[in-house]
Amino acid sequence: MTLSATAGRLAAEVTTSAAAETHGFLSPTGVEISFVLVGLVTFGAALVTVTTRQLVHAALWLVVTLGGLAVEYLLLTAEFIAWVQVLIYVGSVVVLLLFGLMLTRAPIGRSPDADSGNRWAALTVAVVSAAALVWVVVDAFRTTWIDLDGPAAGATAVTGASLFQNWVLPFEALSVLLLAALVGAIVLSRKTTPGTTADPSTGKAPTAGAPAKPGPAKSRPAAEPESARARTGEVGPAEPEPAEARPAKAGTGEPRPTAPRTDEGGVR
């Protein structure tokens, strides 16, 4: 999403800055120098991310990589994209990653078994996709320069207008994709073994187990409770299962949705 938005902003910018001939590679400005330097740091951090043998360090180097990308967006005047990058990737994705690591295995020190036999295949795919991206970007923008002196070309208003005027269709298609991923996650997490009497409409244990429970938890909208359930289910292993989450009568035998997933590679 961020990539397409950035591309959109830059594409809108192509028309306004035709003064390419006044720029040269031999007398770089401070912004250009820092752009290259930050890019090198980002690239280095990305390399360390995939080569380090310490799992948690890889996640933390990913923070550096994503933060470096955010700085690059800032230097390209795309402030909004930069902060969203930090908010989504550093604030949420990496936290989720660390959470998963800590929940399953996060040894201090090296993990020699963390190597994959697919490293050459992975390297090939990485190089090919990087080459494709670089080719597309270079071919699309050539010698387009952003005018840094005028109003910010990537300001929030500009980005929003570009996103919702020129790029609405990809935006909506992406949101449908995310919705599909969400539904898929819900379907996976509430997989029940055959022969149980799980209520398909709710997929959860009867709440009659907590008759005296105070009211606020009753107001559930259509989409939220399943994801909420998935999240709480993931927290479950570290915590004792709450009393009211259990079925009132043990006879119904409905397994908790995420129970088989607590061990990695558990029963499918």
Partner: protein
Amino acid sequence: MNDVLDVTLRLLIVFVVFLAFPLVVGQTEHKVMAHMQGRLGPMYAGGFHGWAQLVADGVKFAQKEDVVPAGADRRIFQLAPAVALLPYLLVLVAIPIGPGEGAVGQAVDAGIFFVLAVMGVGVLGSLMAGWASANKFSLLGGLRTAAQLLAYELPMLLAAASVAMAAGTVSLPGILDAFEWWWLPWQIVGAIVFFVAGLAELQRPPFDMPVADSEIIFGAYTEYTGLRFALFLLAEYAGIVVLCGLTTVLFLGGWHGPWGADGLGWVWTLLKTAVLAFIVIWLRVTYPRLREDQLQKLSWTLLVPLALAQIALTGIVKVVIS
């Protein structure tokens, strides 16, 4: 030259605020908690009602030995307090305390996203501390921190988005410029959701499950001593200042007040922030700690729907009045 001086002065002021206000909140917490519990609190340090107690605490922390456990991941263990503390300093730069250009450290175009993004980074410090300590209690604390952040980031963001929709801008000074008094009842649900979610993100009681001292000692900070521990504490109180300041700016109108908004706008901002900080302390004394499942349930089944309802209400009202 003038620009350099201007920028330096602003950063200096922000830095002083960053160092002083958390101490003021901390001292207030000592005294308010004590009086709410029928005690006196610190009375001796500094002479008058123990005003210098936190200074004395700071000196004590500085004297302690800085211990890194043998099994810990040394570098990350030592880096964690800085990662926890610095984001709040950065956020403080973007919070406007008065009208006009002069009353904000640095006007950020996408201010709401900036503050929320940077605040989210601060939690990484707790995660790093929890993992790098090589201690089961710390790891549990780190896990709970992460779970809590994942649950409460969303309602906080949604509530802030509601204000941005109302104001038609994501810049913090812009939101204050657009503020009208009737936003207060209009956005009150969002305000409560934002404040509660912020409290949970700061791991303040009653949302202090990640540092629940009676269960997991002190969560992610169990192994920390001396100055590094003091930095984590400072981060917590700086977080209170930032959260109260943000709630003031986003929902309570910041420098707007019944009178004197032009000259004394900053007094209104500080007053509102102080009242909110008092409420934070009050909540700590009043409520018992929420259990982990209650925490998650509160967020996903109450705060998120409320925030979505607030966004819907904001959208409807916005369409009607425009």
